[in-house]
Symmetry: C2
Subunit: 235 residues, 2 copies
DNA sequence: TAATAAAGTTAGGTAGACCTAACAAAAAAT
DNA sequence: ATTTTTTGTTAGGTCTACCTAACTTTATTA
């Protein structure tokens, strides 16, 4: 199997390369910064992981994970997020206390343990921070996103991404408090032209339909939308 | 805190020095053998632990734990046994599958985690192998032992130790299948002279009262005897 | 385009936890 | 009381995962 250090690098690479919407090019320095080590150390490890066919990169080039490397990294993410869920659901930890401990627990080596834990927790799809938990094959559930313009009146959504990246759009969004990770409630919508009243950070703003068509949101609690059986599902 | 290796040595020392009825003198070779390392390695570590005031020993002398070292070792034992209990009680592991995983889990560093786990499991007093779980102060519950001669007819006990160590006694005990860790049921007892019928490994043997007065047994399920509230308690 | 800055690499070094081989002390057997 | 065996110690070496300092390549800016 892999050492604790190797696992941390593989997980970091999955996170930097695959779990970010933009700028998924990753270099030695960025990886080192992310893991709180020096670039020289990260460089050593990259060479080692290349030997083991877990990453693929050439000197001075950008880093990518092989299929095998990605699978291994996903597995660490899976374990991390399952343990976080365990700590919150079963041991009454709060969401901000779990990370440090999960950072250790994610390295326990036992297939049976992980899968039993998964079942014990009733195969959760998202961890306490709302991040998707990869299944045993490393597959991840993409949260059910919808455009803010399609959210019904009275419902709320959590912003996950924006389509428009122009300065005017971003500055406007920022001005009314709309940011990635933030909550928006659709307080009202005019049927005549789609003028929409959004409640953001306890303040109401009337915006155009065009604006709403550029914002992706998910259900803040389950992230699953349509197929979700939870009774507090927003979608 | 302590490194994983240090913790393994401390736990081993607690086990060799304090959790054995006889022969609690421990040397470098025995420690090394127990931990599957070479004597030279154990010697290195002992010097390191002495520096840290966790063990106390002189060159060529026997090893003992300081108060601090014993506390630290007990804590590892506590974690090991709590995790074993978790695996069996909550994740449906069998008693023979838990050791290897607990060997890893015992090194997770988080006071809150251990204590929450303890509560989640409802503060168990014994692990799946029947070994006592130290409490947060490192105190251990001594199982409630009684002499086989005091066990009521129909009840069963698990052998934990013998008083007589003569060859004739041990050979006799061996012949009828009585060994440490084994089960004995008191099938009958003659009120005239205490002649007792024992059921061992599905065979009946009639033995003297004198024989029964040399065998210590505990309740095989709870080990607590009198004060135990479990309805399958044998005592 | 040349100068400067940023990013990435290499060489050489440390600490922890292990090893082998040679040696010394203590215990057991003759 | 020697010899032999067992037990314990030391010296010196490996491997992993870090580090610093010097250097090279690539990217940015003047
Ligand atoms: Mn980690
Ligand atoms: Mn998380
Ligand atoms: Mn261990
Ligand atoms: Mn046990």
């Amino acid at each position: 199997m892999f050492s604790q250090a190797e696992e941390n690098y593989l997980k970091a690479l999955v996170q930097l390369i695959h779990f970010r919407d933009q700028g998924n090019e990753v270099g030695t320095n960025e990886l080192a910064l992310y893991l709180n080590v020096k670039p020289a150390t990260a460089n050593d490890m990259l060479k080692k992981l290349r030997e083991k066919s877990l990453v693929s990169y050439v000197k001075y080039g950008k880093i990518s994970l092989t299929t095998e490397g990605q699978k291994a990294g996903m597995d660490v993410v899976r374990k991390h997020r399952l343990w976080e869920t365990f700590l919150v659901e079963k041991l009454d930890f709060t969401w901000d206390e779990v990370h440090e401990v999960a950072e250790q627990l994610e390295h326990i080596k036992s297939k049976k343990l992980v899968n039993s834990l998964d079942d014990f927790l009733q195969n959760p799809k998202f961890d306490p921070h709302g991040d998707a938990i990869p299944d045993r094959e490393g597959r991840i559930l993409i949260p059910y996103q919808r455009l803010l313009s399609e959210v019904s009146i009275g419902k709320s959504g959590k912003v996950v991404s924006v389509k428009d990246n122009s300065n005017s759009f971003l500055q406007y969004a920022d001005k009314i408090g709309v940011r990635i990770g933030g909550m928006i409630e659709v307080a009202g919508r005019e049927s005549y032209d789609g003028q929409t009243t959004l409640r953001v950070e306890n303040k109401d703003h009337t915006v155009s339909d065009k604006f709403c068509m550029n914002i992706h949101v998910v259900c803040p609690t389950c992230k699953l939308g349509k197929d979700c059986s939870k009774n507090d599902c927003s979608f």
